[in-house]
Symmetry: none
Subunit: 129 residues, 10 copies
């Protein structure tokens, strides 16, 4: 795995497939290009997922994020595309992606999308005394 | 699309129509005129929606907001009119608009309106452990 | 509508009667007189309502608030009276008024009253992902 | 009503008996004496109630609070006694009293007691959008 | 001293004339009328002074503040006039008045004025370790 | 009741047995010894209970807390033992004890235990408008 | 030293007379009576001093504060009187007393007075790197 | 139990097995090695559990945490492994572990996993007035 | 001036050369490449300056910042280079640049450099009463 | 430069030797061993310096910090040793190191040391209006 932008997402076997558990990843350094003006856009990404048989490898995820540096991408499309790519690569039980874009023209935009595997149900959260 | 105020709202095809996902947009720079006194009013707009087949284009949205700069507009009417225009243009599954107006005569006003497409139901929110 | 205190509440047609939406108004500059001592009292008012066919006009509301400047008024009575006047003038679907009075004699008082039109039911609040 | 400590609680007719509404009163200046050591105790009182036919008069309430200045009183007993006196005087639909005592011997104490009139039911709270 | 608005400021002998000491008084309930529109204005006053032979009596100060309730007064003029009246009544060694007015037309105003008796010198402030 | 550490917990009759009410006590000054190393441990205790026929006397509680100063005590055991002692002494309807221990060896520990009398049911909490 | 209000201030020898060091004492439970109305006043006292040959004993200070509970006292006079008493009893190198009184009639008052022994000079505060 | 890193988790009998109670432990000093690069990773661990017959001994827990100092460990695997080890050692009724890792390559990661003993049910939390 | 990355800094005449005044500019979207690894670096820039005869044009400044997107640059060198370029272009009386870089390998770096024109002296700041 | 702990500090030529400028580096991931108990210690390091002819290379600095992972080191000694090593390697005009250690035995320790090159003088800080 060379140290360069790459669209491929590497995965590894989930070390604990018997259990529903949560992985949360925050990435404050997403940047791409506006397809209309060619100017840079910036966002912070918040990903949370319950893996099934595969987990996303973090260094490859970093290179995947890096790959967008020279891509033109609309806010709504790129958020859904990243979620689709991550779902395709890891086939999780549940995954949610929030992209929080920097202000442009006085307008702040956030896009949130999520995926739920067919048949999967969240368990009720336990609140201890 | 020239760079000037314009009442038309441009839209583009929702890149991910198969999925209910949320777009949130904040606009701290709305200004119009008080229809009674002709003096400037200011507000921060908070929009959130689940698109169906169309999304609102951000640069056109900025010009649409700009269009109100020389319009007389009552707080309640303008909030509903903007929601109506945005609903008419995008035909979303769900949309909510909150307009938070600056103080006038010692009085602070907020107006919140929402639209729900017939037959659409919100899914239960998943809270992970 | 002259610029002076006035007990009359002006209204205007709700520009969007088909929809339940919320108007929130905060007024930090309410003052009246204590009916026992004749001394000034001060309060901040918080009003929220869902209009039906009529909305309250803000400049007239300001003059209505101003009208109390020379009136003697008990905390509990004046809060209910203002709610009654606002309900009588606008016939809303729902209205709530909170009056938060300045300390007097080491005692802080808040009074909250609300009105619900017969047959009106609040809709369930939508929480997006 | 002379300006001196007095155990009597004056009341006045609730100006709006048709409606369940809430009166909240905070009193940071309660002081009494410890029955064991004779030393001063201090507390902040928080009262909230829904009146039925009577409201408590604030100046008399202040004198009632003042009356405890020279009384010996245990934390638990005095909180319940004040609630009982206020209930006896005003016969409210609902009343809750929280007494938050200053630290003594490194120990902080709060006592909360409430009264609910037979047959009275709280209405569901309306949360607007 | 009847309980009513009064322009007269009552004073009493400074109980400790041998010492330079500071009296700070905050009054969040100042209200007067705008001389142009006749509408109410509101401000919080902050007074600090070093008395010489006289102190201002607080109940009379309250009535003096109350006196402005029905007076038309410009921000700059009223701040200076109050300082002048307070200086004339108490002849202090030093006095400073800050009037912090509520927003009007989107504009926030504060006016600060001070008086220093001839020959009086402030001592250096001691900051303990 | 001499002023010295004492394991006995004194009680007194609950002055208002007809009513479920809450007593909350915070004690930031608990200290005992680590049974392994003999070194001092420190904790803040938070107790809340609904008394039945008896209340715990505060001065005796202070002496009871004091008694642990020279006792070796494990975090889990001492929290349960204090709850057991307090339950044995007061036979409450409900009691909860949270012990928040200071960091030791880079590890922060909190232990929470509660007791519920057989047959006792909490009432639904009333939230006023 | 009986446990009761007492005007006498007890002192003890300053254990470290060779050094200028600072003692700070805060007393949130000062209460006296208004000499005009007979009603209770409340204040928080903040005392800071550099002792010379004597320090003030804390339990006696508490009884001294307690002594004011039934005394009529003006804000300015009582602050200076307490400073004078404390200076007379302890003859400090420097002493400052700030009395922060609870709001009365919408007016907040703070009085600050200080004493500096003849010939004493504050050392310059050292700001470490 | 020597003072050195050790993979063994020592336990002791739960001193209060009759009762469901909660133990919360925070450990800001977890460090291990990245299995890919060999470089140190750092995390804060948050553990909460309801013991059954056994509790984890804190000093041994510290040594267990210490044991990872020289181990290569992936974020997801090590969180689950620690939970598995703690569950195997203590056989709790409920246990939850959150590992909050320091940023690496601009990416922040948190992993949360939990265990629930078969047949165990959380009790409803009591909220007192 | 085309909308693309450009190393040239455009300037315009300072409209008020008679006065020392301050311009502050914050740029949260600086990104370049690490010259060692080729990976992206991110920083927030804070610029403050007192112009002499020229001011920096903001759109060109944005393009200048954008120009670094594909440049390899060390933290210390790039901060000084940007300051040098800005000084060369605008010849200010005073200029300071702070570059706050995102964490890399667990290390946070900030570089601050400033320029002062020969003979220029900062004025003493006036503290108003 | 292999990716492993190393005591050597790599340097590179200061790109801007003509100017006094400041480099600030924060390292929250310092860990070493206690020389008495062999147990891990943790600290956050804050370094600030004005380079002369050399700057410290960040990746080598990270490896230098990493080198302490298996070293026994007293708080005071290790802080001074790191400052000495950094001064020896870079020969700066000014350097200050603050080590903020995690709590041990209920005690929090910070050590600050600095170096100033002979003949070097700090310039007065410019505070802009």
């Amino acid at each position: 795995m060379a140290n360069q932008p790459a669209r491929d997402l590497e995965v590894f076997p989930n070390p604990e497939q018997a259990r529903d558990y949560t992985i949360r990843i925050s990435i404050p350094e997403f940047t791409c290009l506006c397809p209309k003006t060619g100017q840079p856009d910036f966002a912070t990404l918040h990903l949370e997922y319950i893996p099934d048989r595969l987990c996303v490898e973090l260094k490859a995820l970093k290179q995947y994020i890096w790959w967008y540096r020279d891509q033109g991408a609309f806010h709504e499309a790129v958020t859904n595309q990243m979620l689709d790519d991550l779902v395709a690569a890891t086939q999780p039980r549940f995954m949610r992606l929030l992209a929080d874009f920097n202000v442009r023209g006085g307008i702040y935009t956030k896009v949130t999308a999520e995926y739920r595997a067919e048949g999967w149900q969240p368990s009720t959260k336990v609140e201890l005394a």
